[in-house]
Symmetry: C2
Subunit: 116 residues, 2 copies
């Protein structure tokens, strides 16, 4: 069993065979994190309902929350207009960030010096 | 004038010197698109208040909406925990997607075959 060929033919992967996946809390709209998927990670995400990524640092598949318990129940997955980015809408249990923050973007706002 | 060195030293760029930027409508939470920034594009975004990207297909800076009028007024920019992804919260004028759709993720939902 592997990724549906109709989906696979629309995916545009980077040189490492990966596509970025934006992960969003389905009801609040919070952007939780960015992760990376290859075809197999996307297949597992679509067929198991648990968000599964390719860890670039560990070179292995990574079921989000397998260690921490902070799993992501998959609600919807969309491919963008160019076929090179995924949007994964989930129900996040607990914190998405390994630091314990709810999202990976909570800690570090940058200064915008010009208001439009 | 270039990117604040305190920001630049925290950025982790890919092999092409780029960082992915998730673009979100600031009030509704809609994820609009994914684009890419180098240091100069981030500098221009932070200091002009207009979202500015690096176009990988055209190899040039790209002020979103410069041609279409569908500009993005920047409300906030955050760096993630690893320093390798940006979240850009904007007020999007009109459609974000070149297809005319509001977001780049509207057209192509994938089938999730397992509910968690």
């Amino acid at each position: 069993m592997s990724l549906d060929p109709k989906v696979a033919e629309r995916l545009k992967r980077n040189g490492d065979g990966l596509v970025p996946a934006i992960v969003q809390q389905h009801d609040t709209g919070e952007v939780l994190m960015l992760a990376w998927m290859d075809d197999e990670a996307l297949h597992r995400t679509l067929t198991t309902g648990r968000a599964t990524y390719w860890s670039r640092s560990r070179s292995e598949y990574w079921v989000k929350g397998a260690t921490s318990g902070n799993v992501q129940h998959v609600k919807a997955v969309s491919l963008d207009c160019d076929g090179d980015t995924l949007l994964v809408q989930v129900d996040q249990v607990g914190a998405a960030c390994h630091t314990g923050d709810r999202t990976c973007f909570d800690a570090d706002p940058l200064e915008v010096s010009a208001a439009p």
